[in-house]
């Protein structure tokens, strides 16, 4: 090492540098920190940063009284008490909602006698929602949710989302994104409390 000064060797001759033990301890520490950082970053792969945690599983479902989109009559959570329920949050502007609509049709036909189906319109104009239902069919009661208060009380994080509520009124779980028949059957079996379909 040189600073280009003639008496450099002499000047630095007496300087103590850290002992090998200190050097290697520091190195091991630095490597540990690096390994930790890399490990954490590596674990991040496959993680979906857009997934939102849901903490209401197993908790009593929030109650509500909302207006029906078609008749304007009130519809309250109490009307569903004692039956398992499926609540679907959707909007006409959401593409995946269009995609899952046939699944909901099929499900309502197949399970409609045993499970109460309800749709809640999320952040949409009533006209658009009605037009959507005219085009795609109305398989079950659709409710209007002013200011999306019910959606927020259910912890909605985007549409479509489908909540499965058991007969005791507790949230069993929610399905995020468009439903498939398989996913629906798995979830609905759990709230019906049965092994076979």
């Amino acid at each position: 090492m040189s600073y280009g000064e003639p008496d450099y060797e002499q000047a630095t001759a007496g300087i103590r540098t850290p002992s090998p033990v200190a050097r290697w301890t520091a190195t091991a520490l630095a490597l540990g920190v690096c390994a930790g950082l890399l490990f954490i970053l590596g674990k991040g792969f496959g993680r979906n940063p857009h997934e939102v945690p849901f903490a209401l599983v197993g908790k009593p479902a929030p109650t509500f009284t909302l207006r029906r989109l078609d008749t304007g009559a009130p519809f309250s959570f109490e009307q569903m008490r004692g039956r398992p329920a499926v609540i679907n949050f959707w909007a006409s502007w959401c593409g995946p909602c269009k995609a899952e609509h046939p699944v909901l049709h099929w499900a309502a036909q197949r399970f409609g006698t045993r499970v109460q189906f309800v749709g809640v319109v999320f952040e949409d104009s009533e006209n658009n929602a009605k037009a959507f239902l005219r085009d795609h069919g109305i398989p079950f009661p659709q409710l209007v949710d002013p200011e999306s208060r019910t959606a927020v009380s259910y912890g909605v994080a985007g549409v479509p989302e489908t909540y499965f509520i058991d007969a005791a009124g507790n949230i069993h779980g929610k399905h995020v994104g468009p439903l498939t028949q398989e996913a629906f059957i798995t979830e609905v079996k759990a709230i019906l409390g049965e092994g076979g379909p």
């Binding site: 000064e5 008496d7 002499q10 000047a11 630095t12 001759a13 007496g14 300087i15 103590r16 857009h50 939102v52 945690p53 849901f54 903490a55 209401l56 908790k59 909007a91 502007w93 959401c94 952040e123 949409d124 104009s125 658009n128 200011e147 999306s148 208060r149 959606a151 927020v152 009380s153 259910y154 912890g155 909605v156 994080a157 985007g158």
Partner: protein, 160 residues
């Protein structure tokens, strides 16, 4: 711009886009300030780590409306936070808790800063003047050029 042109665009726009909705009416100024303050600490559910007061998304507006509703009902800040944590877990808090494992995010940087300060002090002590038998060539005190030591210091810096 004519009304028909507006109608045309709105018709085009209304099909594929989420219609924007007005938020609920603001409360009295001091309550509204609380709404905004608490909202600033809550994460919008559909956005990328943005507070519900800062996001244009309709979800954020809905969440902020809920905060306003809870404030109107007389809930405390702590109760409002608890309401959202009960639904979205601690994830919804942009200001992490100071207890539990989240406390580490507050403690670690402070601890490292303290260690750094200690390390810096140690380094200065280790390298005090006279650490070597024959001290490195110390530039002689600059000759008194003007009598003002401060100006001399500046002069010496300029000569470098």
């Amino acid at each position: 711009m004519t009304a028909t042109a507006l109608g045309l665009t709105l018709a085009l726009v209304s099909g594929d886009y989420a219609p924007t909705q007005a938020g609920s009416a603001p409360l009295s100024p001091e309550l509204e300030a609380r709404v905004q303050r608490v909202g600033k600490e809550l994460r919008c559910a559909v956005c990328q780590g943005v507070a519900i007061t800062d996001s244009p998304a309709s979800m954020a507006r809905a969440q902020l409306d809920m905060v306003r509703q809870l404030v109107r009902e007389g809930k405390s800040d702590e109760e409002i936070r608890a309401y959202f944590v009960a639904r979205y877990d601690e994830w919804v808090l942009l200001d992490p808790k100071t207890e539990g494992t989240s406390g580490l995010v507050w403690f670690l940087p402070v601890a490292v800063a303290a260690l750094g300060a200690l390390g810096g002090a140690w380094y200065v002590r280790q390298n005090r003047a006279g650490k070597v038998a024959a001290p490195a060539a110390v530039p002689p005190a600059s000759p008194p050029a003007g009598g003002d030591a401060f100006l001399d210091a500046i002069r010496s810096e300029l000569d470098r």
